[in-house]
Symmetry: C2
Subunit: 310 residues, 2 copies
Amino acid sequence: EQANGKRIPPPVVHYHMNNLTSSSDPVGNRETVLILTPLAKFYQEYWDNLLRLSYPHELVTLAFIIPKNREGNAATAALQEQITKTQKSGPEKKRFASIIIERQDFEPPLVSQTETERHKMENQKARRAAMSRARNSLLFTTLGPSTSWVLWLDADIVETPPTLIQDLAAHNKPIIVPNCFQRFTDPKTRRRAERPYDFNSWQDSETAQKLAEGMGKDDILLEGYAQMATYRTLMAYMAENNGDLKQEVDLDGVGGTALLVKAEVHRDGAMFPPFPFYNLIETEGFAKMAKRLGWSSFGLPNYKVYHYNE
Amino acid sequence: EQANGKRIPPPVVHYHMNNLTSSSDPVGNRETVLILTPLAKFYQEYWDNLLRLSYPHELVTLAFIIPKNREGNAATAALQEQITKTQKSGPEKKRFASIIIERQDFEPPLVSQTETERHKMENQKARRAAMSRARNSLLFTTLGPSTSWVLWLDADIVETPPTLIQDLAAHNKPIIVPNCFQRFTDPKTRRRAERPYDFNSWQDSETAQKLAEGMGKDDILLEGYAQMATYRTLMAYMAENNGDLKQEVDLDGVGGTALLVKAEVHRDGAMFPPFPFYNLIETEGFAKMAKRLGWSSFGLPNYKVYHYNE
Ligand SMILES: Nc1nc2c(ncn2[C@@H]2O[C@H](COP(=O)(O)OP(=O)(O)O)[C@@H](O)[C@H]2O)c(=O)[nH]1
Ligand SMILES: Nc1nc2c(ncn2[C@@H]2O[C@H](COP(=O)(O)OP(=O)(O)O)[C@@H](O)[C@H]2O)c(=O)[nH]1
Ligand SMILES: [Mn+2]
Ligand SMILES: [Mn+2]
């Protein structure tokens, strides 16, 4: 900002947002992608997959929000080390347009966050409200007037195809979500197998609607808990052996472990409600809010990404 | 980005959002302010008042969203002319940190927008939904990780005190709104007088709550229409002759002609619902959404700003 001790007259920046596209050919149209990751723990596989993305890296900005606690400090250090490698000494082609790291100004509501602890039903509302605020903070401060797409990608997604962005964008949908699975070793057969991980991508049911009607405005519907049978149709169970990777289904709720959103959906106001919104919260509430704004959600039952197994 | 034809390794930018303040002494703490203006028509008085703001201009970023139509083109040209004067040839002290102009990618729902036409009840829902989308677009794309305050200021606010930002911030409230009046010539006495303009700042009433209960989820409550008596307590009528400029009142709805918001309220997710949210929309819905996030709204009945009189 300083030249000869003088403030340089700052430029006016004009953006013609009507010329901005988010199309089925994002590479051809040189569309920019913002990859957003709330990050509590760093996984090397996550970073390696980012580097392997075949989407032109000069069109990609990465942004992270990391809690301001000990675990977050460790994650920041690990991330920073990889960033330095990539952006300073790595091949130019692999370097990203820019990288933003935000340290978060609020504490996560749970100190110990093992998978079991996180997924306990009574912990879900506070935890997902905190996650919503983290996602909103990250989104509101990094989305720009020339961003075409936002890819939400959790830090513990350890397996993704290099063509992830192109594959999802090719469907040209406002909101699209792959199926999030988890690999594990079957204790009986001792063979490697896989199982659904994310139950937040679903088609609504009359039962769930009725459950919601009987609830207070502050209560939330949760998916994947036997105590609260919603009879929603879960994308998790729609995957088929050798199923069509391109098969699309309509969705009413979406998960956020990997999620591609046209930037204009967010710009219109779609965010992650930290409060019950139609008795839904976080990414499920986001899909509902987007719907209220006229934007629909879609899922790809046979297109898989994989979550880390603790 | 290019130096000797090479892409410069881009830096990582770190933000410690927990160190960011928004305090009652924003100048002393060097807090940055983002002034956001949806602009359909340019008024010289609006610009002159911006220039007269005594808040250090190097801490102030201006951002505009302007419709992509003929009226908007004229407004952009007029604005650009003033910006060039200020930022290029004006005194350095008057120059703002940066200025962003966004041309909007959707049409306003009404072509002719006289004050009478705008305020017709049947036009309100579509008009205010469009205004909400414009505000959200502007907000989501300009708010940064180091913004402390957001001042919403309509382009047709033609009289504001130079200490506006400091005066409002001194109250140290998440959301605070002055009273928006309008000057006019009384046809009977031919004397200059003033009257309330903005009726969106109010304290809720039981009547309004009951009206809302009887409404569909898609209906909206509107303020200032005889057909829909809400019996809310309007800040517009709380002003007193020579009243205390610092008097604060609690509010449940706020107007957006001039409105100071702590940036963290927006970062948490508070936006302008373009859809009925608890039967409220736009700035009134914003106050409700902020409340759901734990942030309260306040008004200053005797602290006035003035709206242009067509
Ligand atoms: N910034 C931030 N990120 C978090 C926090 N808790 C979890 N995360 C990250 O957010 C994503 C989702 O959280 P996770 O605990 O994996 O959720 P689950 O897999 O749905 O149970 C992951 O990338 C986490 O690393 C938090 O408190 N703050
Ligand atoms: N970007 C944008 N700004 C608008 C549009 N319509 C009005 N405005 C601006 O938004 C603000 C509020 O609109 P206005 O018509 O004055 O509302 P009212 O005074 O509440 O009736 C003013 O600054 C207008 O110049 C629009 O369609 N797009
Ligand atoms: Mn996870
Ligand atoms: Mn106006």
